[in-house]
Symmetry: C2
Amino acid sequence: MSNLDRRVQRTRKLLQDAMMQLIREKGYDAITVQDILDRANIGRATFYAHYQSKEDLFLAHHDDLVLTVGLEPLTAEQLLSPDPPPSLVAFLELLGHNRSLYQVIIHSRDSDRIRQGLRAAVSVNLADCLQSGFEKAVSHMPLDALTEYLASAQLALIDWWLNQRTPYTAQQIATMLHQLRRAALQEAFALD
Amino acid sequence: MSNLDRRVQRTRKLLQDAMMQLIREKGYDAITVQDILDRANIGRATFYAHYQSKEDLFLAHHDDLVLTVGLEPLTAEQLLSPDPPPSLVAFLELLGHNRSLYQVIIHSRDSDRIRQGLRAAVSVNLADCLQSGFEKAVSHMPLDALTEYLASAQLALIDWWLNQRTPYTAQQIATMLHQLRRAALQEAFALD
DNA sequence: TTCGATACCGAACATTATGTTCGAGAAAAG
DNA sequence: CTTTTCTCGAACATAATGTTCGGTATCGAA
């Protein structure tokens, strides 16, 4: 018994594709489960046999994608380097290429969890790096507050960027994020 | 014909009080219009004669309060001073005293508008100051992005602060916000 | 105090969306 | 071919929003 009945595969793919289509057309928030069902030509009962909700459907196919990319561990050297780490640039480029999708996702209400999770992940990632790489230096700021500040600021700027008409390049945004982060760290650790 | 019939006053006050009670008990998001009606002992039709929605009811009594306090114009001197401007400290103290309320409000979904409005206001406030006070200096960063970054970061940190168990004082948070902002501006304008 | 205007009540109704249930029938697996 | 599993569809339950309307209570003003 292979784990995936063909019908299951077919159903899930139809639902997923329908959702993506609709997201691009109307935006994530405006979609109802019924919309997805109509578009995918799938029965109501069938939907709930596979997913618990609209959010569930979305996350089932994008969770890991969003949360793993761009979260490679940082090093202290990277943080203090004059240039942004390549992983940051790569992450922004990925988002930039799927701009039409992510700008609508990140902006939606129901995706609060996604944002929260992402922010927390970014914050933790940074915190790990600071703890291991800045052991000797003593900050005059609470570190949890600092990482929260930086993570939120970064995601907010990315959000802003994705919604801009005249886009800067991923490289430019990465540079800007990096410089501001470095400046904040230098301030916090009195490294001037 | 005085503009406010006593019955109107009574009804609105009952609704407002009921909502505030419920917010503190269950959180803004969990409340339904029906909850408010039950608690206030007010008829459904009556509610909709006064307000269009739950959000409408809330904003009718808190809109100006949230949006006007703490947004006194900034000056360049304040931005570069070693100490945070008094208006910032005062703003944080106000929020801190109503912590139980604001932490729940700011966190809610339906109040996205409030957050967005606040963020935009903070951003514009800062942008005005930069334009008038930093005319000569040239930034190597786009200013709109910079103000967006700073405004979001500030509000995120405030949000974090309001939800902390062991609270720092308003003064401490204000100092932190101020120092980080100054560091970012120095970076952006190469004032080191 | 009376009287007309206005606000409230409450109950019913329309609407929209979510989520569940169940039997019949189709498709897959072996 | 048989058995298992999935899908369908329609009905049902639930919950929330927002409207309507006639009857009743309250208000403000004369």
